[in-house]
Point group: C2
Amino acid sequence: CIWVHRLHTFRYRHQQTTAKRVEEVEFDGPCMKTEVPGPRSKILAQQLEAIQSVVQVNFFCDYEESKGNYLVDVDGNRMLDVYTQIASIPIGGYSILYDPELFLGTFVNRPALGMMPPEQFSEKLVNGLMAVAPKGFSRVQTMACGSCSNENAYKAIFIWYRVRGQQFLSLVFSFFFQVPGCPDLTLLSFMGGFHGRTLGCLATTHTKAIQKLDVPSFDWPIAPFPQLRYPLGQFERENAQEEARCLEEVEDLIVKWNQKGRHVAGVVIEPIQAEGGDNHASFDFYRKLRGITKKHGCAFLVDEVQTGGGSTGKFWAHEHWGLDDPADIVSFSKKMLTGGYYQKNSFQPDKPFRIFNTWLGDHTKNLLLTEVIKVIKTENLLDQAKRSGKVILEGLYNLQDKYPHLLSRARGIGTFCAIDVKDEDTRNNLILKARNKGVVLGGCGTQSIRFRPALVFTEHHAHLFLDIFNDAIAELK
Amino acid sequence: CIWVHRLHTFRYRHQQTTAKRVEEVEFDGPCMKTEVPGPRSKILAQQLEAIQSVVQVNFFCDYEESKGNYLVDVDGNRMLDVYTQIASIPIGGYSILYDPELFLGTFVNRPALGMMPPEQFSEKLVNGLMAVAPKGFSRVQTMACGSCSNENAYKAIFIWYRVRGQQFLSLVFSFFFQVPGCPDLTLLSFMGGFHGRTLGCLATTHTKAIQKLDVPSFDWPIAPFPQLRYPLGQFERENAQEEARCLEEVEDLIVKWNQKGRHVAGVVIEPIQAEGGDNHASFDFYRKLRGITKKHGCAFLVDEVQTGGGSTGKFWAHEHWGLDDPADIVSFSKKMLTGGYYQKNSFQPDKPFRIFNTWLGDHTKNLLLTEVIKVIKTENLLDQAKRSGKVILEGLYNLQDKYPHLLSRARGIGTFCAIDVKDEDTRNNLILKARNKGVVLGGCGTQSIRFRPALVFTEHHAHLFLDIFNDAIAELK
């Protein structure tokens, strides 16, 4: 089998090139003892059912036993983790790197970071979040989770738009905004975009109907996101036309909504629509979109909650676009361990308590992130993501050539890869088959599988994954 | 001085009655070395200013040195903490009670709790959140923070209202809700209420204009909250009339909004309006309000983010009302360490992923809470809160008798107490004076001071606080 062969070759190279420490905490492969979920997971699910819904629960895990790239469930099944808690574990279960004593005081005495921060707060921000800040950003605001990050980024945009607007357009504004203090401003988002599930975020989230059903929403403009045809090389002209159509629609929407007095204060977009199905657009599309926001005075918010943290081979996916000034605000969470956003200076509200809450994040996550970033840098894990990503994507290309009736649209940057399966049921079935063979995967969109390994996922793990994934596909009828 | 005298008497009783362990981690009183913020805090604020706004920062803390009821700042000032990180530290800096090893695996491998919970998840919920669940609740959903808790509780209410409504009122609904899927439902909230700062929560938050200014909002009904006159005993009839007026307005609003097709799906209220100024209403008011929600088919959401966790002398403030069925949903955060809400079974959405996000809270907080609840129970800290609260409130009554030109409206349940100062500037000045004498306090409303000690705040600390507070007041011109 070609996969086994590759794996062996790889293992040889691997042992010579990778740092020892990564290997020390690693198992040598998946090890399955039961179907997943196993009997212990099922018992635990029954217990939990008495307290909360378990319809979303896949299985229960033993996080003390989970190390490196391997997730161990409560039935002792050891699985290669290509989903990482919905793309939120940066460098795998590196428990041994952390000294628990470091965190304890802050953990128990959780500070209200906006009012009474701990001594090392600045230092940890400088060595943590600011050490990996996208070019052009010198300010950061932490928040507890991705939704809170976007909610507060939206507020920062509205405040910025009004404060700026009041200086230059006070007459226009006093005419248009009939609700005193709460103006009828809007944010433009994209079909297929996902920015969170709280009420403000949800107004910009357009992935699955069930996420929005029955919940009151803001009536804000929604633009089409390019539907690229694959393989990209074969549809260059069509895809360029599709992107031009979408950009034209964006500009039309901004003009139209501004004209009716419901000004578009900002545009929010992901560098890759993740939850929506790993939908990519060209770097050129994003550069032009940035130009449109500048032309019309809209803030440009890049939501890197899922794409940020290094899996694309750069720390921030939008850094691939090659722009000096790609964004006004960049939001993050998941692999960054803390939520929050970077902001241009002009987005700092003019008065205190406009952006505020009790905790404003969780300093223990800042401490952890600082350690994680040290590891990412010393072990060159961004380069690792590029190398592993190359193996994954080439493997996916081979698989879709081998199973053209099942697989299509293999795509990705770094390890941030995805592939489409012929329909939703087959996709879900394939994820379950892979899991029972020891690989944890997640779906996205209607029929895609997203691959979201940690940054310690080496070429070795990539081959191991492809080998098992191939076996799972081969079993599909 | 009367306060010194009381303190001495108390110390004597205290030493005989309180468990040793609380004392072991405690300092014997405030110890001030500099003005607050001191030079080290100022340097750190300058450093932080380069990265984020510091206009809300009071001072920087040394959380490793902070123990029990004392907060130690980076200049070595040791202050009695009567604010507890905006009312969010349950039992003070009890670091020694926790074994860091317990938390490490979960801390580093942060689980996506909705999909891959850890083995002990149910058990920790049963011994943590469910061990202190308000009567009538057998289900709980964790969330990361207070705003997320309310945002998701609102969603649960809207889903419940529609799912129930569609069964009985499908014709009415299809007529009224013109936006398919996103109905024009509303939530009724109260003037002076505070429920968070994300866009959904913010539509129900009505404390300070600066919190809402420039941010688009939902147009939902807002009812008046009773403005009680103090002392309560002197204004019984007027206060009963005021409460009746507010309840009548609530019912009118529900009827009116339902009639115009913007149905009121739920009513959200705090047992004590905290951020809004520690505004109380009688238990009878809440009982009648509960009746109105039942009559009109609205969900009743009690927001215990600030009041929950034991400081009123019961674990939940709404338990004082003496109702068998006081609420449909109870939200919490702050002193509960994790955000979340208890819900009646009927509020569990009918389909998966309707209430969901990546982390759904943070399991390390569940672990910590389980330990905290053990301590609260074994050391009878709710009784402690009643005893200390009595000392605080009596002390506040004495102070307002002594300084009637400065202080008024002393009020509270348990240690959840407040007093009004003659105006906002004097209030702010008094808080600073108390801080420089070694007591950390926080304001609320326009001219109130709220007292929010931890549950380990004994009569001894109450006397100590009153003594210093008296000195600070005496210095006011």
